[in-house]
Subunit: 210 residues, 2 copies
DNA sequence: AATTAACTTGACCATTGGGTCAACTTGGCT
DNA sequence: AGCCAAGTTGACCCAATGGTCAAGTTAATT
């Protein structure tokens, strides 16, 4: 790769990192090129598709933060505290970084590292959920798919409120957490759990991914 | 008004009613004209703006259903049952009718009847909430603004899942309701309640209204 | 310094959305 | 029947956005 191409790729990665973090993974590619001070033709040239760019730019940053939250949650002595910490922290990450929220939606099948990452986060969530259920504090009818929907919805709420009400989502989460304790459960749930396939499709429409 | 204009207005109202109900209040005006079998120029001619059309088409249908749900909720002997019924039913309406969901977002300031309607729904919600709080079953820190955010988020979830998982939102609501009972409350909420102004802005961004 | 392959550019294509308006068509009155 | 205002039409404008490519530029090698 020629030196100028390398330089441009760097500028594009930097611009993309900024814009992804500010406005999510769907920012117009032309705008990324604009901020990088480069023609959009060059962007297509060097990366080919949005997903390649995402994969190069977003994966590492997101991975560290997600793994760390999961690790800390599993390290809590109290399983419920770990679970509550996990929910709150992931929602906080989503609120402050729309790119990370989009990563968790798992809607970029072409971005391999991203999907790996999303899968790892999903596994961690399952472990955290099951641990809390084993200790009897988290209601047994709550599933990883329920969590995914929650994350998806809160991500939108947090993004919508970023300017006007940046912490509004915290109240919603607090209400929800109180309803997730075993002793809060009142009735059997009205419908059965969703399947991973359903989660995939719903989050797709929720985030407007084609 | 000339007879052919009257006829076209009728066709446009009918097409708009269909499309609003299927896909929400933001459907392209040109598509409404297309379905009505009329040029989009005529639509602009007869209605001038999207909001005029909305006001003529959506208000009455939505009003009846909203009022009825509120009335029934307030008529329940058990205040909690009324509250739970209200939440579930409004979410169900939003799930089956995106237009109604958009009405509740209160984001069409130019549509007077719609805004009146939205205000009336909001008043009813307040009464239902306060009644349940007076009987001690609904936690006292839950506000009408919290309810508005809930409705906004569930509306999106329900719309996103309309095809793939049409009832997925019911589980989320069930968890939330369990967390809204007085005895479920564990800690003080992490942040204070939102203001109506904040609700307005957040729902605007949530629904993508400019 | 000359050559050439790699790279960049911006004009161009298409699509989708809101919105306008001159030119045509037609309802309804005399 | 004939006229004209009322009404309709679709071509046209704009701004975004995704995407392609011929022509021009430049880095690196000989």
């Amino acid at each position: 790769m020629r030196a100028d191409a390398e330089r441009n790729a760097g500028k594009l990665r930097a611009a993309a990192a900024e814009l992804f973090q500010e406005r999510g993974l769907q920012v117009p590619l032309k705008e990324i090129a604009r901020r990088a001070g480069v023609s959009h033709g060059t962007l297509y040239n060097l990366f080919g598709s949005r997903e390649t760019l995402i994969d190069e730019v977003v994966a590492d940053l997101a991975a560290d933060r997600l793994d760390e939250v999961a690790k800390y949650a599993l390290a809590c002595e109290d399983a419920w505290d770990g679970f509550a910490y996990y929910i709150e922290k992931i929602c906080e990450l989503q609120a402050t970084d729309p790119a990370l929220a989009d990563v968790l939606s798992g809607r970029y099948p072409g971005a391999e590292r991203l999907m790996t990452l999303c899968g790892r986060a999903s596994d961690a969530a399952t472990r955290i959920i099951e641990r809390a259920q084993r200790t009897g504090t988290l209601r047994p009818d709550f599933t990883g798919e329920d969590l995914a929907f929650t994350f998806g919805a809160v991500a939108l709420l947090a993004r919508a409120g970023a300017d006007a009400a940046p912490d509004a989502w915290r109240r919603s989460i607090a209400f929800l957490l109180d309803g997730l304790r075993t002793e809060a459960a009142r009735h059997p749930l009205p419908v059965g759990p969703a399947t991973p396939q359903q989660v995939y499709e719903v989050l797709g429409r929720l985030t407007g991914t084609p």
